[in-house]
Subunit: 291 residues, 2 copies
């Protein structure tokens, strides 16, 4: 019998999603940063994301930072659709020996992120795990986006420039635990320019840019020399490392001048172009089942 | 440092929830079957629930039944608020050695439950677990309820009769994997009678009835002899066993005649009365961190 390791994460998801029905009120189903449902001028964003000890954080990570990360990952996905956070549910799966202090810190971290970026915890669940099992925190959230502001991964067109916010690579050295979800920046982008496609970088540019291109039905040319590498990161790490949580987006507008005026403290960089046909290919990035 | 085992599940939840803000549009926050948000005549229900191998299902359970259970638990909570299911997100946390067949079966089970009871999967997440870690399936869902039909746990009044649907106890022998979420029955109840408080029985009557009474600010008298025990279950098991997934509700109407006509195949039983003051106490039920 084939294991999910042999199949790989993208194939597993494709297999799961192939059989799911998609009613008319589901505007965006599985495969984008969030699901989008609704019929009016304000649409509902739905997203779930989980962090697991030993996978997404080390066992000795401060729980305030784990809480921040768990929540910020979902907020980052709301940003990637051009939306804003609403109500969150927290599933906490813990072995009974976990300390109450650890849980207190976790919720302080989550609350701190929500105070700064919006969103409110309205419920959740606690469940026990067998002793010794790594802790898991799953965050499910409802957000909202004006229909006019909705940006999916699939709107990219040949000729669009490809942009990223911030710098890439080396997030593992700390940023993955206290990154800033780019809600403010995404809101400005969708309100002040024509963004054709957008996603957040969670599995590394090498995985995520091909996903955006594929969903847009286009290829891409990547200008490797232009890639903004984090301090201490190599070009390979900027391409390969996961958990940047920066925005990857495409537009035919020259966005840089207005951006630089609005956000002098956070750069955007044009890293390539969408093209017709196959284009470049990049190898690497993070596959959850094939590490 | 105190562990969550020492604190216990209810205390842990109380501690977590004590510090959470509750904005005005959050009608019901943590502590009820679902969170309720919104402002119009149709309200949004939000719920998340998880099943873990070795805790909620045995490692050799058929994955179609695990999928059914994972989804039906959330549907049961929508029922308990008088609502109906909408969109679901599935978080699948798997060790890489899990077989693809197992995952296929899981989704078949989930889809089968949704086809029969409503609701649609719109997305989710897959994440890896360290090898050997038990599989976890977390289901987050958005449902809806007409404002006029919303039933919480906190509306019970002294003098109300306490009812349960079906029979209690012994769910572990199989029913916990393929129970029927009581959506149809709950919808009929909220549309055809005055239900003052309602919840679904997931942690055993011994845990859940005191919760309903406490949230309603009343006591209860339980008529133990009236308890409808499942075939082969003792009275103690009917009180103590978790995962009945029947409805527990209160009303001052005499509901039985109309119910029996509408649902001849599923009994309801009057098992006691809400009273002013302390009333009975019952020991037992399921605590996730103190088994």
């Amino acid at each position: 019998m084939k294991s999910v390791r042999q199949l790989g994460e993208d194939n597993l998801i494709a297999r799961i999603c192939g059989d799911l029905p998609k009613p008319a009120h589901v505007l965006v189903g599985p495969g984008d940063d969030c699901a989008v449902v609704g019929a009016g001028e304000e649409l509902v964003l739905l997203k779930t994301d989980a962090v697991v000890a030993g996978i997404h954080f080390l066992h000795d990570a401060k729980s305030t930072r784990v809480g921040w990360k768990a929540v910020a990952r979902v907020l980052s996905d709301f940003a990637a659709m051009g939306g804003e956070p609403g109500e969150l549910l927290i599933t906490l799966a813990l072995a009974p020996e976990v300390s109450v202090d650890w849980v207190d810190g976790l919720y302080r971290g989550m609350s701190s992120c929500l105070e700064q970026h919006g969103g409110v915890i309205v419920g959740g669940e606690t469940t026990s795990l067998p002793e010794g099992t790594p802790t898991m925190v799953s965050v499910a959230g409802k957000g909202r986006v004006a229909r006019a502001n909705l940006v999916t991964r699939s709107g990219g067109r040949p000729g669009d420039d490809i942009y990223v916010t911030g710098r890439l690579g080396g997030s593992i050295h700390g940023k993955h635990l206290d990154f800033t979800p780019r809600l403010r920046e995404a809101a400005w982008l969708v309100n002040n320019s024509r963004i054709t496609a957008m996603m957040d970088l969670s599995d590394g540019l090498a995985k995520d840019l091909p996903r955006l291109a594929q969903m847009s039905g286009v290829g891409f040319e990547l200008n490797r020399d232009s890639l903004p590498c984090s301090e201490g990161s190599t070009l390979e790490q900027a391409i390969d490392d996961g958990e940047d949580y920066e925005l990857l987006f495409t537009s035919s507008d020259d966005l840089k001048p207005a951006w630089d005026e609005k956000f002098p403290e956070l750069e955007i960089t044009r890293i390539g172009t969408l093209i017709e046909g196959a284009g470049d290919s990049i190898e690497g990035g993070w596959d959850h089942f094939q590490r």
